[in-house]
């Protein structure tokens, strides 16, 4: 394979991995902490992308969209959680899947009513337009920005999860929620914060993805399946798992489409199948312990 072409595809893989990561981390930690399977996580991503479109339509810059849309999407996500999703918190994954799939349909239709069926575009800021030279390859600046943003957020989340009190509370809750409660920790409050941060990051993903993939009804479903696979492969509830899973699926998807175009989807499911056979709880799951007695 031509080395320039290879480098370009590696960068494409990285860029896609970062978008997957922004969605996967919220889904994974929310599941790890509360055992809640929130498939409507992608709806927040889509909502933020549409909000970004509106902001830029109204004359706002891309940066203003990047600032405002994730916050709005996060607030709406949290509102949705308290108004609706919380009702099935104790009722198992089937009830959660049914309800959140319902939310996906409702969210898509609502956005359709407001914005119509046609895809919308969000343009990138002027100084990120065009390409720049990366080791002899002309590569779109905006995609490099996505990679840089993803890496920066991984760093921020690492510090937040591993070095702060809130991070310790989250890890404790993922390990063993009941024991955390016996220490006087209000896990419901920690969870609300995690849910809001997760929705914010999904919203950020939506805004960042908008200029590359466009904004259209159903953009959430196409990505949430991949994100679920990321979480299964990486392992639930851990930052390392979300990073590793995102990279594996990002690369498998990109290179699958190049090397075996007819079987591109199969590459991803192959990675998942191998992970499930050899590491059924994922590559880097949170270290929860089994409760005896």
């Amino acid at each position: 394979m031509d080395p320039n072409f290879l480098l370009e595809q590696v960068l494409n893989s990285l860029q896609f991995s970062m978008l997957l990561f922004l969605l996967a981390i919220g889904l994974s930690v929310v599941f790890g902490l509360m055992d809640y399977l929130n498939l409507a996580h992608g709806t927040v991503y889509m909502l933020a992308a549409y909000l970004a479109f509106s902001v830029t339509q109204a004359g706002g810059s891309f940066w203003m969209a990047l600032l405002l849309a994730p916050i709005a999407a996060s607030a709406i996500g949290l509102l949705l959680y308290y108004a609706l999703l919380k009702r099935v918190e104790q009722q198992g994954h089937l009830a959660q899947v049914l309800l959140t799939v319902g939310v996906i349909y409702m969210g898509t239709d609502l956005l359709r009513i407001v914005y119509g069926d046609l895809p919308k575009g969000v343009s990138v800021p002027a100084f990120l337009e065009g390409a720049t030279n990366v080791l002899g390859v002309a590569y779109p600046k905006y995609r490099l920005f996505i990679i840089a943003l993803g890496l920066a957020l991984m760093g921020v989340l690492y510090v937040l999860l591993e070095r702060t009190r809130l991070g310790a509370l989250v890890r404790a809750g993922v390990d063993d929620r009941d024991t955390a409660e016996t220490l006087g920790i209000d896990i419901a409050k920690v969870f609300a914060l995690v849910f809001a941060i997760g929705a914010y990051l999904a919203g950020l993903g939506g805004v960042v993805a908008a200029p590359v993939f466009g904004v259209y009804p159903g953009m959430d479903v196409s990505v949430i399946i991949l994100v679920l696979i990321v979480v299964v492969v990486g392992g639930l509830g851990s930052l390392g798992g979300a990073i590793l899973g995102s990279l594996l699926i990002g690369f498998a998807d990109t290179f699958g489409k190049i090397l075996l175009p007819q079987f591109a989807m199969m590459m991803i499911y192959l990675v998942m199948a191998l992970a499930l056979i050899f590491r059924p709880s994922g590559l880097l799951p949170a270290r929860r312990f089994s409760q005896a007695g």
Binding site: R165, A168, L169, R171, A172, V174, D175, D176, D178, T179, A180, E181, T182, L183, G184, I185, D186, I187, S238, A286, R287, R288, F289, Q291, A292, G293
Partner: protein, 233 residues
């Protein structure tokens, strides 16, 4: 006569469809150590979990320091001043030893994190290690220390000696006696009869979800039929 700190009144607790606790009542006065004894499956752990509202009773009342615990969540019971050292020790494996302590700190305790490390050099040597890397004895010490830093008014201990080497059990016993001397109220579930009666003032004997005997530990040593029937010792 000291004040009653914990009062358990006719609680009935179910786990799924199983009627585990069938009307248990007892109390613990401030500064008293009460042993909760009984065979496996007698309902000792479920009684502790009922008090913490991890397994909320279907009826009956638990009162702590005059406050009705009904309707509270587990974290609220903990904040009311009840600490729970579980049988599994429940050390968070994803947290370092120090983090396991720090997230539990609440109020102004006699036991700061620094004092814990001064008093337990084994834990101090492993303060940055993951909670999963500790031996059984170290996990138990950490579990008790984690209860202490929360400034509890009472500690519930579930089988603190279980699975530990005799020398470690002696250290645990010494620690519990030190806490007792400092006036800490404790409810101690223990299979080790000698250990329980050494530390506790009074014993409550459970059998098949009911209280079968209550009295001073000294009297229990002489009550052969109670011990044979309900404890097997």
């Amino acid at each position: 006569m000291s004040d009653v700190l914990l009062k358990v009144e006719d609680i009935q607790t179910y786990l799924g469809d199983s009627h585990i606790i069938q009307g248990v009542s007892f109390e613990a006065r401030a500064g008293e150590v009460v042993a909760l004894l009984g065979r496996n499956g007698a309902g000792k752990t479920t009684t502790l979990r009922s008090i913490m509202r991890m397994a909320p009773p279907r009826s009956g009342a638990v009162t702590f320091d005059g406050r009705d615990l009904r309707g509270l969540r587990t974290y609220e019971v903990a904040r009311a001043g009840v600490a729970f050292v579980q049988e599994t020790r429940a050390i968070f494996p994803s947290l370092s030893v120090e983090e396991n302590l720090r997230i539990a700190v609440r109020g102004k305790s006699d036991w700061s994190v620094e004092r814990v490390f001064d008093d337990f050099p084994h834990l101090a040597a492993r303060r940055r290690n993951g909670g999963a890397q500790l031996s059984g004895g170290e996990q138990q010490m950490l579990a008790i220390a984690r209860a202490l830093v929360a400034s509890p008014r009472m500690i519930l201990l579930d089988e603190p000696s279980e699975g530990l080497a005799p020398i470690i059990v002696e250290q645990i016993a010494a620690l519990l006696l030190k806490l007792k001397a400092a006036g800490m109220t404790m409810l101690l579930v223990e299979q080790n009869f000698a250990l329980a009666t050494e530390i506790a003032d009074r014993a409550v004997v459970l059998g098949k979800g009911r209280v079968r005997w209550t009295g001073a530990c000294e009297d229990l040593k002489g009550a052969d039929d109670v011990r044979r029937t309900w404890l097997g010792v």
